[in-house]
């Protein structure tokens, strides 16, 4: 087998596995969210379909698939169909450069738990997610509904605004690590200081500020409470996806949760040492454990997401913009300067 075709085969397998796992993860993220929010709100959540409602996500998917797929009469048909795809594809693409685990050895095969390690990995994610805005904006516009339009407008403004602070907060990490490759960023976070504190970026001096700005902007980017204005159901009915039904709605839904997972994965990679964590046991366990650590860190972030959703009220649109431009952007700018100074002083 030539080098190229083995690469092609390996990557294809990885892609399929990752996408399948991702969609499964999304399904169970929705379950997790419903269950956790329910318990926050002193109710049971899904409990009928399967043990503790564990089959609920499957039932939901079936329901979405079997629902009538409607297109509003006055909608711009082509864009209306295209929009969920535009939203979904970038969301799924951005997972490709994230390292899930260490290099593992299965017999003679060496597997790297990452689809591809681009040398501009983090920028690639930004590039891809920045295209995702179109899905929401066009979906809102093409539905030919005033609520949708307002949702679409809100979301495009919101996403552009928060992308800025998102990008700036990552810059500090890049300054410290000196690379754009996510694989290398994770590799650099291995080991411990004084034998106890893991060498995660979050513990490097000014980077907790960037983590803060990153995570806040990331919540805004993923349109989650308290920043879920594009779909604010109490003002805009359902925002940009008011008119969407069936699997087209399902795509938007998937996108939202994939984005949540991606954002958590990036946060883990950039600040929390990625897949690093204590490994022990036989060789196969050593291969699997990093994956486990990575997933648990993501789940921790997801739980945080859900927790905020259960706790906080929603911002108003102008307050959201003011918060982004007047607080987060200056803060992350100042943080970049601070980090540069620290890095320069250390060098």
């Amino acid at each position: 087998m030539s080098e190229f075709s083995s690469f092609l085969l390996g990557t294809t397998i990885k892609c399929i596995v990752v996408i399948a796992v991702l969609i499964g993860a999304v399904a169970y993220t929705t379950w997790l969210e419903r269950k956790v929010v329910a318990h926050l709100q002193i109710r049971w959540g899904p409990s009928r379909v399967g043990w503790h409602g564990l089959l609920q996500p499957i039932a939901d998917v079936l329901k979405l698939l079997l629902k009538e797929d409607m297109t509003p009469g006055q909608a711009s048909k082509f864009l209306y169909v295209l929009a969920p795809l535009i939203a979904f594809v970038p969301a799924a693409l951005s997972i490709t450069v994230i390292p899930f685990g260490n290099v593992a050895h299965f017999g003679s095969q060496t597997v790297r738990f990452q689809i591809t390690d681009l040398n501009v990995g983090i920028l690639f994610i930004f590039a891809v997610t920045s295209v995702g805005v179109y899905g929401v904006a066009l979906g809102g516009w093409a539905s030919n509904n005033k609520y949708s339009l307002m949702g679409g407008l809100r979301s495009s403004a919101q996403m552009i605004s928060y992308e800025l602070s998102l990008g700036l907060s990552v810059v500090s990490v890049l300054l410290v690590t000196g690379t754009l490759s996510l694989g290398q960023i994770v590799d650099l976070q291995g080991g411990r200081w004084f034998g106890i504190i893991p060498k995660w970026n979050i513990f490097v001096f000014p980077l907790f500020i960037s983590f803060f700005t990153y995570f806040v902007s990331a919540i805004a980017e993923t349109n989650r409470l308290p920043f879920d204005l594009p779909e604010a159901e109490n003002e805009l009915v359902a925002g940009f996806h008011t008119e969407y039904s069936s699997m087209k709605f399902g795509m938007f839904f998937l996108t939202e949760y994939i984005n949540m997972i991606t954002v958590s994965a990036i946060a883990t990679t950039l600040f929390f040492g990625g897949w690093h964590g204590p490994t022990f046991g036989p060789l196969w366990l050593r291969g699997i454990l990093p994956l486990f650590w990575f997933v648990s860190k993501i789940v921790a972030f997801l739980l945080f997401y859900i927790w905020t959703r259960g706790t906080l009220p929603r911002f108003r649109y102008d307050q959201l913009m003011a918060f982004g431009w007047k607080f987060l952007v200056p803060l992350s700018l100042a943080n970049v300067v601070l980090t540069s100074l620290v890095v320069a002083w250390r060098a």
């Binding site: 040398n119 295209v131 407008l153």
Partner: protein, 164 residues
């Protein structure tokens, strides 16, 4: 292999560009332009300039075109009527300008060294190379442009806040 890929994407790029001109609704034109941008970024990747490719998408597709689409959605114009198409001024000014542009491209292409440039591969498009060039040889223009953009931003702020 590369050539095939190139031609596929080149075809898409040209088709999208033509589509951009032909489409009557501004939002369709804008979307076609985004497709062109995306194709350009693929060409950058093929030229081993990943950084440029990614920046192309982030800046043009992810930011500038979003604003375009935003404005188009906000104004919500109807389909363009044929009136502007028949504007004689466009014919008079457009054809010579187009010819000029064509000539420029031809001249540039003739001057450019054809064939693969192995040394250029590693140096041109990577993050490090771009950074190094920007902050050494082209530092002055780079700073000038930053100041220019800053002025533009200030101007925009002043224009929008005029009523205050």
């Amino acid at each position: 292999m590369q050539t095939i890929v190139f031609f596929i994407f080149a075809f898409i790029a040209v088709a999208a560009a033509i589509n951009m001109l032909v489409q009557k609704h501004p939002i369709h034109s804008a979307l076609s332009l985004i497709v062109v941008m995306a194709m350009l970024s693929i060409f950058y990747v093929m030229l081993y300039a990943e950084f440029l490719a990614v920046v192309q998408v982030i800046v043009y597709a992810g930011a500038i075109m979003v604003l375009f689409v935003f404005v188009i959605m906000l104004l919500n114009p109807r389909e363009e009527s044929h009136r502007t198409r028949q504007n004689r001024f466009l014919l008079v000014a457009g054809v010579p300008l187009g010819l000029c542009l064509m000539a420029e491209i031809v001249i540039l292409l003739r001057r450019a060294p054809l064939g693969e440039n192995e040394t250029g591969r590693q140096l041109v498009g990577t993050t490090e190379a771009v950074g190094r060039v920007l902050f050494t040889d082209y530092l002055l223009p780079f700073e000038f442009i930053s100041v220019l953009i800053l002025i533009a931003i200030l101007g925009a702020v002043v224009l929008t806040k005029r009523e205050l």
